[in-house]
């Protein structure tokens, strides 16, 4: 060490207390989130397991499960790894211990808020973005604190080069912020109620731009950063190819952001956007596999250790699961494959291969590696860790085998035609009943996976109990970075091309974290703008339909109940232009039908049938009885009972405010009935409710339903898809199929 350098030495230590906190939180929420998953898996096989309690119904617990696993379990796992590795890679303590604590407690408070509000039915109805606006604001605040803490640490680092794991962290932090803010832009219509500012096609596009990239930048890129740090640690070897990791990074950052539209193939999305999403999704396969190969080959010369080291076993299977998921994802994005898989359990199997295999096993491997180091003792039992590995692996295999079978069965049955050209399984429930054995197997596989987590808890607690009375905190010394960056290459060649080849420019970027971050952000934003702007601005993308009108105030209230109960988790409202779909459900869905849908409710899965053309198909009393006890109307249906809808009083007092919010978003209530809904929404709702209640009574049902929630939901159900059959303004009714008297009565005509 030169005298000049030693004179500048700074002492520092790493903050491992925050890492321990995040690690415990990871384990806590991992158990809770996956236990909820097991509960709802059993509910699919035995719907009565919700015990008739609204807060435990599938529609409300499913988003709790997905949010808990993604943002609570995987989120805390990411933070655990980032706080541990960032300090060591940058040779600096985190920028602010206060911000670290704020981040930790803020994030846990958000999770608790989610765990309370989702079962209570407060949801924005957008997958993985269900949390209502006050919680969204809290997420943004906590995320900004996290970002400041990480970028502050980068700024005071003592290592010039940013290791590739840090690049992945930076991309994740920046992109998640952009995704979260833009997808959650909504207009509050109450303390825990809001409507997306986007509608229909635009909302769907924005949601799946977010949804896919939440997978990309929350469940993939940060975990790749963790892989590039912890895999070499566990193997005690450097990453196989650092060059490949750089290529992996830039390819993912450029490509991932384009892929979202593959979630909307054959829907009312413009064809060009759908194709664009498919092409980039297929291209994603290559860098993803480059990353997988890079991870696995890091074990070159160390494969013998895998036989005895459960941590390496976890990592190997995790990276293999990453490879499988990232092969399957591009395959599913191909339109013809997607036409079979979309809305089926195949997608659920795909997601769980990634979440349980890639995210889960990588996290467990990381925690087993960290625990002895953080608790400064030996792991209590390697054999228990080994047992956990096998339980988790077999759990995934059982789960995946069952649900892949279910998905294929479902998709093939939906599209099967008999020799006479008719649907072979016209009754939707037939296709559901075939899946029940697979649902049982799925619940068993999930239970095994959760049992493994219980074993891990025991192992960790026992390890923690053998910790020293006081943790040692090593103090290191290193010189600060010089403020001015001097490229150590003594002389640059002459000429632009020669200088480009010397890559002087990129070394400068690597040294300048801010510039690097800006470039990453530009890559993400440009790609997003290329896709999103045309969809938002080109009129021809969403041709209007003159007969499509806003919902009546009561229908809007019913739609809010549909959202509260999470009906969209099982029912789609998007009929694809495929023969088997139009045969089963009716006319395919048009973009113009959704122009007042804040948010869109197309759904992504069909545990039950599509509802886009449900309006007017059945009497009001049928719906009442169906909500009370579905199997009484549709034998063997697995839809849970919603008997509370017939006893809960409908809150008419909020209806005016909700209509006003919709009007503010541009829904033309002013042009209907002389704008009466803008001032008398409650009265209009009561009038329509009285008519539906009278219908129910006339059809032989109970009296006194006018003030119950169920009338609003019936009003909504009876409206679905009906506008397409109504005459456009200026047309005579005879030019269109006439509405039945009952339909006309429901419409208030």
């Amino acid at each position: 060490m030169t005298s000049a350098t030693s004179a500048q030495l700074e002492s520092f230590s790493y903050d491992d207390d925050i890492v321990r906190k995040f690690m415990w939180a990871t384990m806590l929420w991992g158990f809770v989130g996956m236990l909820v998953g097991v509960i709802i898996a059993f509910q699919l096989a035995v719907p009565a397991l919700n015990l008739g309690i609204p807060y435990l119904s599938f529609g409300r617990l499913r988003p709790l499960h997905t949010n808990a696993v993604i943002f609570a379990f995987a989120g805390n796992a990411i933070f655990t790894g980032i706080y541990y590795s960032t300090q060591r890679l940058l040779k600096a303590r985190m920028f602010s211990d206060g911000l670290s604590k704020f981040h930790f407690w803020g994030w846990q408070a958000i999770i608790v808020a989610a765990a309370l509000t989702l079962p209570l039915g407060y949801t924005q109805a957008k997958e993985y973005a269900e949390l209502e606006w006050p919680i969204d604001i809290a997420i943004a605040v906590v995320w900004v604190a996290f970002a400041i803490n990480v970028f502050g640490t980068i700024a005071k680092r003592r290592e010039r080069h940013l290791y590739v794991a840090i690049w992945f962290y930076i991309a994740s932090i920046v992109t998640v912020a952009v995704l979260h803010i833009f997808n959650n832009l909504s207009l509050p219509a109450g303390m825990l109620k809001s409507y997306s500012i986007y509608a229909g096609v635009q909302d769907a596009f924005m949601q799946w731009w977010y949804g896919h990239n939440a997978v990309a930048f929350f469940l993939t890129t940060p975990f790749l950063g963790l892989m590039y740090y912890f895999m070499p640690k566990a193997a005690e070897k450097p990453v196989f190819s650092y060059r490949l990791s750089i290529l992996h990074f830039w390819s993912l950052v450029f490509m991932y952001i384009w892929a979202g539209p593959h979630h909307l193939h054959y829907t009312a999305l413009p064809e060009w956007a759908s194709t664009l999403g498919m092409i980039f999704s297929v291209m994603l396969w290559m860098p993803s596999w480059g990353g997988m190969v890079n991870g696995l080959l890091t074990l070159r010369g160390a494969w013998h250790k895998v036989a005895t080291d459960p941590i390496l076993k976890f990592f190997v299977v995790a990276v293999t699961a990453y490879g499988m998921s990232t092969f399957e994802g591009p395959m599913l994005s191909i339109k013809t494959v997607n036409s079979l898989a979309h809305y089926t359990d195949w997608i659920i199997a795909h997601v769980h291969t990634g979440a349980l295999g890639w995210n889960g096993l990588l996290t467990f491997g990381m925690v087993y590696w960290l625990a002895p180091r953080l608790f400064q003792t030996k792991l209590h039992s390697t054999r228990l860790a080994e047992a956990h590995f096998w339980m988790a692996t077999f759990g995934i295999i059982i789960y995946a085998t069952a649900i892949y079978s279910a998905g294929l069965t479902q998709g093939l049955m939906w599209r099967a035609f008999d020799a006479t050209g008719r649907l072979q399984y016209p009754d939707f429930v037939e296709t559901v009943l075939k899946l029940l054995p697979m649902y049982w197997a799925r619940a068993l596989g999930g239970s095994l996976y959760v049992a493994g987590i219980v074993l891990m808890w025991y192992n960790l607690v026992m390890t923690w109990r053998s910790r020293p009375a006081t943790y040692q905190v090593p103090v290191y010394q290193a010189a600060p970075l010089p403020k001015k960056f001097t490229d150590p290459v003594p002389a640059l060649p002459n000429g632009a091309w020669a200088r480009f080849q010397a890559a002087h420019w990129h070394r400068i970027w690597e040294g300048k974290a801010l510039t690097f971050t800006v470039l990453t952000t530009v890559a993400v934003l440009v790609a997003s703008a290329f896709e999103i702007v045309p969809t938002f601005l080109i009129r021809s993308n969403v041709p209007s339909i003159a007969s499509v009108k806003p919902y009546t105030p009561l229908e809007l209230a019913g739609r809010d109940l549909y959202i509260r109960e999470g009906c969209f988790n099982c029912h789609s409202q998007m009929i694809r232009p495929l023969r088997h779909e139009t045969e089963r459900y009716g006319e395919y869905s048009k973009p113009g039908e959704s122009v007042y849908e804040h948010p869109f409710l197309w759904g992504s899965r069909r545990i039950g049938p599509d509802l886009a053309r449900e309006g007017g198909k059945r009497p009001d009393l049928w719906h009442l009885r169906h909500f009370e006890n579905p199997p009484a109307i549709t034998p063997k249906s697995i839809m849970p009972r919603y008997q509370w809808l017939t006893t809960n009083a409908l809150d008419y007092s909020v209806i005016q405010r909700r209509v006003d919010a919709m009007a503010m978003l541009g829904v033309p209530y002013g042009g209907i009935e002389g704008g009466r809904a803008l001032t008398q929404a409650e009265a209009m709702a009561k009038e329509q409710a009285a008519r539906i209640a009278a219908n129910i009574k006339a059809e032989g049902g109970p009296d006194g339903m006018a003030d119950k929630e169920v009338v609003a939901l019936i009003a909504y159900m009876q409206r679905l898809g009906k506008d397409l059959r109504m005459p456009a303004p200026g047309q005579t009714a005879s030019a269109q199929p006439a509405a039945t008297p009952a339909q006309a009565a429901r419409q208030g005509q």
Binding site: M1, T2, T5, R88, L89, K91, E159, R160, H161, Y163, A165, Y228, Y229, P232, K233, E236, P238, V239, S241, Y242, R243, I246, L247, W250, S251, F254, M255, W258, W272, T275, L276, I279, F280, P474, Y476, Q477, A478, A479, L481, P482, T486, D487, P488, V489, F500, Q501, A503, H506, R507, G511, A523, V526, A527, F530, V533, P534, L537, I538, R539, S540
Partner: protein, 69 residues
């Protein structure tokens, strides 16, 4: 005339191809830069960073940079 009218007549059907070319250009540039033989030693050194939790004896930011540059 609204922005949506202008965009509507802008003929954006080729957006997918433009995006593809953009990506390809960036990909090729990064690949050339990363796989130049002269970068091999530096990048191999950078690849080993995950294994160093603490500053090495006699280490300084400049010497570390020198090792990877």
């Amino acid at each position: 005339m609204k922005l949506s009218d202008i965009m509507g007549h802008a003929g954006l059907a080729g957006f997918a191809q433009v995006a593809l070319v953009l990506f390809l250009a960036v990909f090729v540039a990064v690949a050339i830069r990363v796989f130049r033989p002269s970068r091999k030693t530096a990048l191999e050194a950078a690849g080993a960073m995950a294994l160093d939790d603490a500053p090495r004896e006699g280490d300084s930011p400049t010497s570390r940079l020198g090792a990877i540059a």
